[in-house]
């Protein structure tokens, strides 16, 4: 299989703080990768760079056959991004938001397509309502609708479960499974271990700006994700962490 995301020797600094340190990361087509790690490990930074919103200081990034940041426009066409903010306009209706983003992605004759997407995210009945009247869960679902309007090959999600109640989170998971089952590639950061464990096919732990370890879901025992993550944290605390600081 061919890698759809290929990152080599990625370095990103903020001032003097090096957030990503020669990070290597590769995702095969159709994989559902969960990025785990403590706050400040560089998860959000990595996603922002992959989504072309932030430029790396050094390193090579290839997504769907195009390079970043040189071929950003081509990459953007292949990417759907969901951040912890909804990226939606409160004064526009659900339908108008999708219409606007559809136009930005150069789609035409997409009225039926918008209805389909609204159906998929379960908001068809409320398509005429303003987004600011929506609950956080509904906004998040519409945000996913917005991210997949141009049928991207890769979906990047940053903490999509944050601030959602049980029902909304369940609905989100169903939606993500549906998207993944269509053969799309998904990379997601999350703190919600039980949910991630059910979704992802691969778990990568980010530590101090590098992928510290990586494990396929099929290699983990059932309900084994938390134990696996804990073992890595312990390993960092006892051995690797101290060595690294010295």
């Amino acid at each position: 299989m061919k890698a759809i995301i290929e990152v080599r020797n990625l370095i990103k600094r903020f001032g003097h703080k090096q957030v990503l340190r020669k990070l290597n990361f590769s995702v095969q087509q159709g994989e559902f990768v969960a990025l785990l790690g403590s706050n400040g490990a560089g998860k959000t930074t990595l996603l922002r760079i992959l989504s072309s919103l932030s430029k790396p200081n050094y390193g090579e990034i290839q997504i769907a056959g195009y390079y970043l940041p040189g071929q950003a426009a081509q990459v953007r066409k292949k990417l759907g991004v969901v951040s912890h903010l909804p990226l939606l306009y409160g004064d526009l209706s659900a339908e108008e938001n999708l219409k606007f983003y559809g136009r930005l992605y150069g789609l035409s004759d997409f009225q039926n397509h918008i209805e389909e997407i609204l159906q998929l995210v379960g908001l068809l009945k409320r398509k005429k309502d303003l987004v600011r009247t929506f609950s956080r869960g509904m906004q998040q679902r519409l945000a996913i609708g917005r991210a997949i309007i141009h049928d991207p090959e890769v979906l990047l999600l940053d903490e999509p479960h944050t601030g959602l109640d049980q029902d909304a989170a369940n609905m989100l998971d169903t939606l993500l499974q549906e998207i993944a089952s269509r053969g799309r590639t998904v990379v997601m950061t999350s703190h919600d271990f039980p949910r991630v464990a059910n979704l992802a096919t691969r778990f990568d732990v980010l530590y101090k700006g590098k992928i510290h370890s990586s494990k396929l879901a099929k290699d983990l025992p059932q309900h084994g994700l938390l134990a696996y993550y804990q073992s890595i944290v312990d390993e960092i605390d006892t051995g690797g962490g101290i060595q690294d600081a010295a």
Binding site: F14, G15, H16, K17, A245
Partner: protein, 231 residues
């Protein structure tokens, strides 16, 4: 980081030439017939104005270079030039006021140059406030560069706009407007003193910029060391 020898030499040269220029102003240049001793403020007034303009030009050029190359040094040059420019234009405005009080009988007039100089000062104070309001260092540099370019572009346009109102400011070089109050014929010694002042202030400018860039680099090092300790 040790202070480079060239900088030490430049410090000394600056000090000596500055003293020399001051001596020239007081002992070499003659006392102007109509205005008297107060006219002597003119030499440093013009020199400070010149260096101030030069600083802001440097800041704008450094801004362009920063946006193109994205290297930290151009940001340091930009900040250095703006800070020094603000000081020199301030000196320029204050000395201008001292000169204006006996000659135009007022501390302040809404004359194009005076007004433009003050607006220019405000533009670059806004520049410093913009930088202060941004926490991310990379973004701070980027926005500073953009604003330095726009500010420098706007200043001559402001001058040009106000210029269309009649001016009472003496047009010192190639003076053609006979109605301007405070115009005087420059003697050869006056002209020499003015040129020397301008050159000396330019040396002072280079010296200060050098010091300020060095200070910026040292501040960066301190930041870096702090981060290393935290890690």
């Amino acid at each position: 980081m040790k202070k480079p020898t060239a900088l030490k030499i430049l410090d000394i040269v600056t000090l000596i030439t500055l003293l020399g220029a001051t001596a020239m102003v007081f002992f070499y240049a003659p006392i102007e017939r109509v205005m008297g001793a107060v006219q002597k403020v003119f030499y440093f007034h013009v020199a400070a104005g010149w260096v101030g303009m030069l600083s802001f030009l440097f800041a704008a050029i450094a801004g362009v270079l920063y946006l193109v190359k994205k290297t930290k040094i151009w940001d340091l040059v930009g900040v250095a030039a703006v800070e020094i420019g603000i000081i020199f234009i301030f000196i320029n405005i204050v000395t201008g006021s001292i000169w204006a009080r006996p000659i135009w009988n007022t501390w302040w007039t809404w004359d194009p140059r005076l007004t433009t100089a003050t607006i220019m000062e405000l533009v670059y104070i806004a520049y410093l406030m913009l930088r202060q309001g941004i926490d991310d260092p990379e973004r701070r540099s980027r926005f500073g560069a953009v604003y330095a370019i726009i500010g420098f572009l706007s200043v001559p346009l402001t001058f040009f706009s106000i210029r269309i109102f009649r001016t009472i400011h003496p047009v010192v070089i190639a003076g053609s407007d006979p109605s301007a109050v405070g115009t005087f014929d420059m003697t050869a010694t006056m002209f020499q003193t003015m040129m020397v002042s301008i050159v000396v202030f330019s040396i002072l400018f280079v010296d200060l910029v050098w010091h300020r860039i060095r200070l910026g680099k040292l501040a960066n090092q301190v930041e870096e060391l702090k981060f290393n300790i935290q890690d």
